[in-house]
């Protein structure tokens, strides 16, 4: 199959590669760039495990053509901590035990990061609503909801 060139920003770094036009973003991230924190579970944009941020908005990498990210900025779980300092959502997940098996965690954290960038004081209804795009089969969600509330408070305290 013919390939097409792809230029995009991944975790703040400008990247270039040649891709087949039918390749999805999850495969480029995992196999092309070794970013295996992006987990593919349902492969149908239902469960949210593969969620990454494109220009700050959460999308399902399993069902997004890689070429559609041309010229855009992609953030994955690997890029969230900076200079060895965890993002507030990662810290709140650790402190609140917001995960068990961890397979949904990358996507869950990125969805929440997107939520908190646009809503600094989400109420519980909004949090539950926003998390509707991410399935966690392990935790029963309550510890995740609390982690979001803690992260929101932390981020408000440290703008």
């Amino acid at each position: 199959m013919r390939t097409v060139p792809l230029e995009m920003t991944v975790n703040g770094v400008s990247r270039q590669c040649d891709i087949e036009p039918n390749v999805v973003l999850a495969d480029v991230l995992r196999d092309g760039f070794g970013l295996r924190g992006c987990k593919v579970a349902c492969d149908q944009a239902v469960c949210g495990a593969c969620t990454v941020l494109i220009d700050g908005r959460p999308v399902a990498a399993c069902s997004t053509f890689a070429f559609a990210t041309r010229g855009r900025s992609v953030e994955t779980i690997e890029g969230l901590a900076s200079d060895h300092v965890l993002h507030a959502v990662q810290t709140s997940f650790l402190e609140n035990y917001g995960f068990q098996c961890g397979f949904c965690t990358s996507g869950m954290i990125l969805s929440i990061v997107a939520l908190l960038r646009t809503h600094s004081t989400p109420d519980e209804t909004l949090i539950r609503d926003w998390l509707g795009g991410n399935i966690c089969r392990c935790t029963g969600y309550a510890q995740i909801v609390e982690a979001v509330q803690l992260a929101a408070a932390t981020m408000r305290g440290h703008p």
């Binding site: 295996r36 924190g37 492969d43 901590a81 068990q100 961890g102 397979f103 949904c104 935790t139 029963g140």
Partner: protein
């Protein structure tokens, strides 16, 4: 805490958790080997058919395709069947497909897309046979036999008062009877007898990491990375199937992305090994979630309970007739039947029990283990009926339960261990938390106390604890981390015995060449059964350290006090690291302690060994019902369980809540359905599991530490508990709110409306 390099991340739970929140964790899904090829499977579109011919010519001719595996390849294996006790499932369909989704061919190719396209190019000539989609169809007098001849393997061995029989009738895989006392006489002598029938539904585990295995043969020896939670069972199955020694198989078990029973016991592991052997290269087979939905489900079934009560409102006897739909193949069906029947009495005192369970074969997805192993089926029927009886007697459901519930130390059944939780205290706790007696008008409150055994039947585990000259601890066992924080819990047990900080401990990766064996990560046994083995291993390592120090200091071991990584003798502190180096040299030495635990078999116990612990789940629900739409509003859900002693309260909370929300899904909407002979919703898009928006308005959980378990410090398992009481509590609350009696899962609006219409006063008003 925020700094990746800070010391607070140094303990084992922090290390593994840090990897999870940074995307660094490695699952089997992420394993990649040099020259690795990829597999895809072709599955039967028909529920029941003879496979006349498979034409793979076109598929094999496609560029990038390496080989095709079919039943022809499996026929050459030493023993191409697997299953728990009863082994009827072929590694790949031999000559007949028995459900929609049965594996008919496997393709190995250079990448997944090529393998997928090639699988679609395989032409299979089927001769359709009559499907048997339900228990009733399979038991019909003229139903065709799903299998020819006797089922290979042996039925589960059982103990006192039990019988265990394979192939008792056409399309009946297995029959189990458990009882004590004279149930017929007790029921005859009862003041009142109640008979009710309950139906439980088919649900899927929906673990997010799909079933995935990577297999690689080197010099006739198999090396495999597997998401299976039973590495030593898989080693044994593959050795038997391929006719090779146990040490000819090496299984690595990385972190597992969720299991809940769906990744226990043999599944497609032998097939991946077969594909890799034929391809002559490493092969990775990752199922899609659609395929996982067609791999294993929880047993649907029908339970009819006849329960007697005497004049004083005391339970007398219970008779149970349990029919479980085992699906197309045995898997763990016999064991689930045993456990369902055994657990049917719940946490109550009986004069007699007569429990009869059968597993019926149908042309549907195989049923097997699912968090609670028959316990949830038994608890739904049992706790629903207890409430219905209390209501019919005009009694408060709490008073009725309290009068009949087992006290601490009372045996669950003759010959078994005594109750190791205070069931009454837990019931009082949920009553207080839900606000019993103070609910709003129109709301109803329901309770349930699910109880099951835990820790397994005669389970065993071995463990190693290694301590370096610098006081670092490596804990080695075969408990697999499926998200329950096993590594951290087991490390904690070891360092407590050694008196060393948790930050000094690591949990060794699981590898059957090096890890000490166990029965598999099942039945909430890890912290208790393996924990006992680890505690013993740590104490042995400690004795070696003290003996070494005593020899070096020229004193008796009894004069030595181990204090962190120093020893004290005559009030003088001696650091251990230089002492070890001085004797063994710079590379140093490891003190290696071995431990083991085995619950002995006991033919006088019903299960053939005394159960290791008891697992209660106290549940309470507050609901209201929209009588126009049949929709249940769950205002509050309270769930509590007893880990004996909580090694980590947050982890225990997560186990209880996660199980409870899985049970909530099964109670309210979750179900794998068939439309005729086709799966109706076997895809992640159409199979609905609970999301954050499905949480009850108020969701409260509690960890009750009754400290009566036989594990270190009184601990016992907790992983399955939260699943047990939820569905019954919700149905009991619906009846309290509306008078409508729900007896079948899930409680869809249609079922709720039907139950509202079936209320006696509604029927009365229609006939007036």
């Amino acid at each position: 805490m925020g700094d990746l390099l800070s010391g607070s991340q140094a303990d084992p739970s922090c290390r593994e958790n840090l990897a999870k929140v940074t995307g660094a964790s490695v699952y089997t899904f992420d394993i990649e080997l040099p020259r690795m090829l990829h597999g895809k499977l072709l599955r039967s579109p028909l529920p029941h058919a003879v496979i006349r011919r498979i034409d793979a010519t076109a598929a094999l001719a496609m560029p990038g395709v390496v080989c095709i595996v079919t039943g022809e390849d499996a026929r050459g294996l030493r023993d191409p069947f697997y299953g728990v006790g009863l082994r009827d499932q072929p590694v790949i369909a031999l000559d007949r497909a028995r459900y929609v989704g049965d594996v008919v061919a496997g393709v190995v190719a250079i990448d997944e897309a090529t393998a997928f396209r090639a699988a679609q190019a395989i032409v299979v000539d089927y001769e359709p046979l009559q499907p048997l989609m339900t228990i009733d169809e399979a038991l019909a007098p003229d139903a065709p036999a799903l299998f020819d001849g006797k089922t290979p393997g042996i039925p589960i061995p059982v103990g006192a008062g039990c019988s265990s029989v394979a192939d008792p009738a056409n399309n009946v895989l297995y029959e189990f009877n458990f009882g004590y006392g004279d149930a017929a006489a007790c029921l005859d002598a009862s003041d009142q007898i109640f008979t009710d029938t309950f139906e439980v539904s088919r649900i899927n585990h929906f673990h997010l990491e799909p079933h995935v295995n990577v297999a690689h043969w080197v010099g006739g020896r198999l090396e495999m990375w597997s998401c299976n939670q039973d590495p030593f069972l898989i080693r044994a199955d593959i050795a038997r199937i391929f006719g090779i020694p146990l040490h000819g198989v090496r299984i690595h078990t990385p972190l597992i992305g969720g299991g809940f029973g769906g990744k226990s016991y043999c599944k497609m592991e032998p097939l991946v090994a077969l594909m890799a052997r034929k391809a002559g290269a490493p092969v990775r087979l990752a199922l899609s979630m659609d395929e996982s939905l067609l791999t294993l489900v929880k047993h649907p079934g029908r339970l009819t309970l006849t329960t007697g009560v005497d004049r004083e409102g005391r339970l007398t006897a219970r008779r149970a007739d349990i029919l479980l739909d085992g699906g197309a193949y045995s898997d763990a069906s016999a064991l689930v039947a045993v456990k369902t029947a055994f657990r049917i009495g719940g946490g109550y005192r009986w004069q007699a029990i007569a429990s009869h369970a059968r597993v019926v074969r149908t042309t549907t997805v195989p049923s097997g283990s699912f968090r609670g192993f028959g316990g949830t089926q038994a608890a739904f029927a049992g706790e629903r009926q207890i409430d219905m009886i209390a209501r019919r007697l005009g009694e408060d459901p709490l008073d009725f339960r309290n009068r009949n519930m087992l006290d601490v130390g009372e045996p669950f059944a003759p010959g078994d261990r005594g109750m190791d939780s205070d069931l009454h205290a837990g019931l009082q706790d949920i009553a207080d938390r839900i606000g019993h007696g103070a609910q709003k008008p129109g709301h109803g409150i329901g309770f349930a106390v699910g109880v099951k055994d835990a820790g397994g039947t005669g389970n065993h585990a071995q463990a190693l604890v290694r301590v370096t000259q610098d006081g670092e601890v490596m804990v080695s066992a075969a408990v697999v981390d499926v998200g329950q924080s096993a590594a951290s819990a087991l490390c904690r047990i070891a360092v407590e015995a050694l008196g060393l900080p948790l930050s000094s401990a690591s949990y060794a990766p699981i590898d059957t060449d090096h890890s000490p064996p166990d029965n598999g990560t099942h039945v909430s046994c890890g912290t208790l059964v393996t924990g006992r083995a680890i505690e013993q291993a740590a104490m042995e390592a400690r004795a070696q350290i003290e003996t070494f120090a005593a020899e070096r200091l020229g004193c008796d071991r009894s004069e030595i006090v181990l204090d962190g990584w120093t020893v004290r003798h005559n009030n003088v502190t001696h650091p251990l690291a230089p002492m070890v180096r001085a004797y063994y040299g710079g590379v140093g030495w490891e003190f290696i302690g071995r431990g083991s635990f085995k619950e002995p078999y006991d033919p006088t116990a019903p299960m053939g060994a005394r159960n290791i612990s008891w697992m209660p789940c106290w549940s309470a629900a507050e609901v209201s019902v929209d009588e126009d739409t049949g929709r249940i509003a769950l205002h509050k859900l309270v769930v509590g369980a007893d880990p004996g002693r909580a090694l980590d309260a947050d982890v225990c909370r997560g186990q209880i809540e996660g199980a409870a929300i899985q049970a909530l899904g099964q109670a309210l909407f979750e179900e794998l359905r068939y439309q005729g002979s086709d799966p109706e919703n076997a895809s992640p898009l159409t199979y609905r599991v609970p999301r954050a928006g499905d949480l009850p308005q108020v969701f409260e959980s509690f960890v009750a530490e009754h400290r009566l378990g036989i594990g270190p410090g009184g601990l016992k398992g907790i992983g399955e508990a939260g699943m047990l009481g939820i569905a019954a509590a919700i149905a009991n609350a619906v009846e309290a709110a509306t008078g409508a009696s729900l007896t079948a899962l899930p409680f869809t609006p249609e079922r709720v409306l039907a139950a509202l219409d079936a209320r006696p006063e509604r029927i009365q008003s229609r006939t007036d």
